[in-house]
């Protein structure tokens, strides 16, 4: 019976004006999204390769001496993700540039920002279309699901038969979901066809499972609105009243709440300030300098003459390494505070299902904050690898003092690090490793779990309301 009700609902919906409008709007937006993405992606990718090649050739230019490789600050850019078409994850406003050498990695920066004067809209991606347009359509499909039938008098006829109420409710729920799946899947297909037809975007086999996951997630998200629609519809007697309540709920949860959370968080949370970072860096440097004797006699001597008896190069290198390590630790701490603030803000904004959906989708698409944080971690790891490489190459040079330290002058004029040329191919190059599907799943599990929980709660609420609904 559930099937019959669902089929009837679907057929009825298919013939309605709201379905035509939703289908037209959604599919055209998905098409535009695909087109805009393909164009933008091509440019971004060209830009990315240009900069990456520049970086590599600059690194190649340093390979005539090992110490130069160690000190050369490499500029690593964030690679555009092909799945950004699904969820761009606000990447436009996230850090995209990471500078690193064998000793230190700078804080991530934003380079070549887009026009600051334009309003900050999220990029047109699947998540935007689903979270704003299709969620709206979900409400429009269900606001009169129960009370509309009561007004028309058909509900009592249906229930006068032997059909139990839960079957009616399930039938209506499935009917609405199937109706919504049509524009969703059609739109996704159109968008994917546009993306697949372009020569610039190549989707890896693993990407398809991610796309499927995002599709499933979108259904989970839309189901919340369908269930809210049925719930409100079975709490009210008139369909216009149901619409009024649903619109309010939609506006509050989808539009107002994310912005409200942001401003409340801004007022209440004290940002870790760059001045504070500078002060701490200065403090720790001074402290280590003041106690330089701890690293060996005359560790703090800055004489430029190697044969100066006041010089103690090994101690000096130990001191310099200790300073850089301490500074790196403080920078790391500052960076984790920045991340904690951003994650705190996102956790706070989780009050809105849109935020849960966006977060989970961007995790599956491999974009967003998690990706940036992961990238920075990898960049730092790369710095350590490079240092190890320098150490192992340096040990082969009998002329070197084998003092791997961050003082450029020592390395340059005293050969503290080998001056021998290295093969460019042997130098480790940075290669970003994306999250695996399992890692993405682990990161998104809370959001997906919360969305599922919300679904269950709303279904329970709708079910109880409908059981108690006066169909007369």
């Amino acid at each position: 019976m559930i099937r019959q009700i669902a089929v009837k609902e679907v057929l009825e919906n298919l013939l309605s004006l709201r379905f035509t409008l939703s289908l037209l709007l959604t599919v055209s937006l998905f098409a535009v999204c695909g087109y805009v993405f393909v164009n933008g992606y091509r440019e971004q990718l060209q830009d990315y390769w240009k900069r990456t090649n520049e970086n590599l050739s600059a690194l190649g230019g340093q390979s005539d001496a090992l110490y130069k490789v160690a000190f050369h600050k490499q500029g690593i850019y964030r690679k555009p993700q092909p799945l950004a078409v699904c969820a761009e994850g606000d990447e436009k406003s996230l850090p995209n540039f990471f500078a690193v050498n064998a000793f230190t990695a700078d804080l991530p920066r934003i380079k070549g920002q887009a026009n600051f004067a334009l309003p900050h809209f999220s990029s047109l991606d699947w998540v935007l279309i689903v979270s704003l347009i299709l969620s709206f359509a979900a409400m429009v499909f269900t606001y009169d699901g129960i009370c509309g039938e009561r007004e028309a008098g058909t509900l009592r006829m249906v229930l006068a038969n032997t059909i139990p109420r839960h079957e009616v409710l399930l039938g209506k729920y499935l009917g609405a979901m199937v109706t919504l799946m049509i524009p969703l899947i059609a739109g996704m297909l159109v968008s994917l066809i546009i993306v697949a037809l372009s020569k610039d975007v190549s989707l890896a086999p693993a990407a398809w499972s991610r796309i499927l996951a995002i599709g499933f997630l979108s259904l989970l998200y839309l189901s919340i609105f369908v269930l809210s629609g049925l719930f409100v519809s079975s709490r009210t007697g008139h369909s216009p009243n149901a619409m009024a309540i649903l619109l309010l709920v939609w506006v509050v949860f989808v539009i107002l709440l994310p912005s409200l959370c942001r401003i409340v968080f801004e007022i209440s949370y004290k940002e870790p300030s760059p001045a504070e970072l500078d002060r701490r860096l200065e403090e720790v440097t001074k402290q280590l300098w003041d106690n330089h004797e701890k690293f060996g006699k005359n560790a703090g001597s800055m004489s430029g003459n190697l044969s100066d008896p006041m010089n103690n190069p090994p101690a000096r290198a130990r001191l310099q390494n200790a300073i850089v390590d301490a500074r790196n630790d403080i920078t790391d701490d500052y960076h984790s505070k920045l991340l904690a603030q951003a994650f705190g803000h996102r956790d706070f904004a989780r009050l809105s299902p849109v935020v849960m959906y966006q977060r989970a989708a961007e995790t599956f698409a491999g974009t967003g904050i998690n990706r940036c944080a992961n990238l920075y971690k990898q960049v730092k790891g790369y710095g350590l690898n490079l240092k190890e490489f320098v150490r192992s190459e340096d040990s082969k040079d009998p002329q070197s003092l084998h003092l791997i330290g961050p003082e450029h002058e020592m390395a340059r004029s005293w050969r503290a690090i080998s001056h021998n040329p290295v093969s460019f191919d042997a130098i480790p190059k940075f290669q970003e490793r994306d999250f695996t599907v399992a890692e993405s799943l682990r990161l998104a599990v809370w959001d997906v779990g919360l969305l599922a929980l919300l679904n269950v709660a709303l279904f329970g609420a709708a079910f109880v309301s409908f059981l108690r609904y006066d169909v007369r």
């Binding site: 939703s22 334009l118 309003p119 347009i133 009243n241 509050v252 539009i255 401003i263 951003a342 904050i369």
Partner: protein
């Protein structure tokens, strides 16, 4: 008859559930929004005041005109609670230096780069989103609903003319919707006035009055849109769906699409191109400076640089005649070149800014097809948080830079007097030199020590006397005054668009209703 219909409709509307939900939502949202927005404004104002004080204190401690580097700040707009515009996207501070381009930290997004940038959050959001939906909900069944109930044909079977019904319903609609508009404004104002940092002057009240008018006009546009759909559809369910889809297109699709279109129509020059231009100008500057550089090694001077040279201390020292003359020569040749290049660099920066602003302007103009965006633009202009107010600020910064330049030029005799580059007068420098010479020419050690002692005592006294900083009595302090008349002029096109949309929609409603089949 019109009044009777209007009164009946108004009372009916007031008793509907949707109206109650909408009006309560507006009131509750304003009660939640306004204190947060007021606290946000207070926080920004405090930051602004502390920055201003710090800057002024720093300036007042300056001892040489060469070190006069004021930073100017744009105060947060008092009415930003009503419309945030782009105020938070732009930081709004500029450092004025004599020989370098004003360092505009206008465009740098400061703070945590991981924090997502959300769309603006302000009071006009309630109008843009909640009241516009409410207007559509009130209007969607005005005609089609009455037709479904059969009351429309009863009404029109009497002597009542169609235009009377139309006018009555329109009047009732605007009367109904002005209730939440008034409630929202009153609550917002009460909360704002209770905030200790907000002191509304005449100009602000005028702006708020205009905002209120614009809000009413916008609500009327949305109501008439719903009315039109109601006249076009036979069933109220259809008119509601049409209205809601029109709303989602106007509220979400159009603003987004316009931004994308604007970036396509007017692409920005690449960052590298700009940086390349700046680098080539800086290279040219370095070349020109090299050609006129004073050879310091050959300058005969007694006092050498020391510990207090950092952070501009160089220019606040007690110096001798040889040094003074050399500095003067160097300044006379270098400063005009630097000023010239600063202007050229500023032009490059400015071109980039202008291109960014142009893109935004195009987006704004395109978005006028959506009444929601038009309304948003009007509110931002009236609140003084829109793009043009920043352009105004930037041109103010440039004018101020010229004023400071002229001021210093006048005070220092075209950058040549001692007070420009040293912490002493010309006589002091001459005296200082004389004391050095005496020490140099001393015949024996005892005389030399005595002369040295005399010089050091003199210098110490001089330094103590010179502790007084520059008198900045007639310094042209930067004051940013948003002008109501100018803002009104800028708001005019968008206000006109709202008026014209209302007139056109009225015409369309009239035509649709006259042809409506009431059976």
């Amino acid at each position: 008859m019109v009044w009777k219909i209007a009164a009946k409709e108004f009372l009916l509307n007031l008793m509907t559930f949707k109206f109650a939900v909408g009006a309560v939502a507006c009131a509750v949202l304003t009660v939640v929004f306004m204190p947060i927005l007021a606290a946000d404004y207070r926080q920004r104002l405090e930051t602004y005041s502390s920055e201003m004080t710090r800057n002024e204190t720093e300036l007042r401690q300056t001892k040489a005109y060469r070190n006069l580097r004021p930073t100017v700040y744009r105060p947060p707009a008092m009415l930003s609670a009503f419309s945030g515009g782009i105020e938070k996207q732009l930081v709004g501070a500029a450092r004025i230096e004599l020989d370098t381009v004003p360092e505009l930290s206008l465009t740098e997004r400061q703070g945590n780069p991981y924090l997502p940038v959300f769309s603006v959050f302000d009071e006009s959001l309630i109008f843009k989103i909640v009241i516009s939906v409410l207007a559509l909900l009130v209007a969607y069944d005005v005609i089609s609903g009455e037709k479904e109930q059969g009351t429309l044909k009863l009404m029109l079977s009497g002597a009542t003319a169609r235009h009377q019904v139309l006018m009555g319903k329109l009047l009732a609609g605007i009367a109904t919707l002005s209730v939440p508009v008034v409630i929202t404004f009153v609550i917002a104002l009460v909360i704002l006035l209770h905030s200790p940092t907000v002191a509304l002057g005449g100009a602000e009240w005028a702006r708020i009055g205009l905002m209120f008018l614009a809000s009413l006009m916008f609500t009327l546009v949305m109501y008439q849109l719903g009315f039109l759909f109601s006249c076009l559809a036979k069933r109220s369910a259809v008119s509601m769906v049409l209205g809601l889809f029109a709303w989602i297109i106007f509220a979400v699709v159009v603003p987004n699409a316009c931004v994308h279109l604007a970036t396509q129509i007017q692409p920005l020059e690449s960052q590298e191109q700009k940086e390349g231009l700046i680098a080539s100008l800086q290279n040219a500057l370095a070349d020109e400076l090299k050609a006129v550089r004073v050879d310091w090694a050959s300058v005969e001077r007694y006092e050498k640089s020391g510990d207090d040279d950092s952070f501009g201390g160089w220019h606040e020292k007690l110096i001798d005649q040889g040094w003074l003359d050399a500095e003067r020569k160097s300044n006379a040749s270098e400063i005009p070149i630097k000023v010239r290049y600063a202007d050229r660099l500023w032009d490059v920066e400015h071109r980039h800014l202008e291109a960014c602003f142009r893109q935004r302007q195009i987006a704004n103009r395109l978005s006028r097809i959506s009444p929601i965006s038009t309304y948003e633009n009007v509110m931002a202009v009236l609140a003084g948080t829109d793009l043009t107010s920043f352009q105004h600020f930037i041109s103010g910064v440039r004018a101020h830079r010229n004023q400071v330049l002229d001021y210093v030029r006048l005070k220092t005799d075209n950058f040549s007097s001692a007070s420009f580059l040293a912490g002493c007068t010309e006589e002091d420098a001459a005296e200082f030199t004389r004391l050095f010479r005496r020490e140099e020419q001393a015949q024996n050690e005892a005389d030399k020590a005595k002369a040295k002692q005399a010089r050091e005592t003199w210098a110490q006294n001089k330094r103590a006397q010179a502790a007084a900083s520059l008198s900045l009595q007639d310094f042209p302090w930067f004051r940013y005054h948003p002008s109501l008349v100018a803002d009104l002029q800028k708001a005019m096109p968008d206000l006109l668009v709202l008026v014209v949309t209302n007139v056109v929609l009225f015409g369309m409603c009239f035509a649709a209703f006259v042809r409506y089949d009431v059976r």
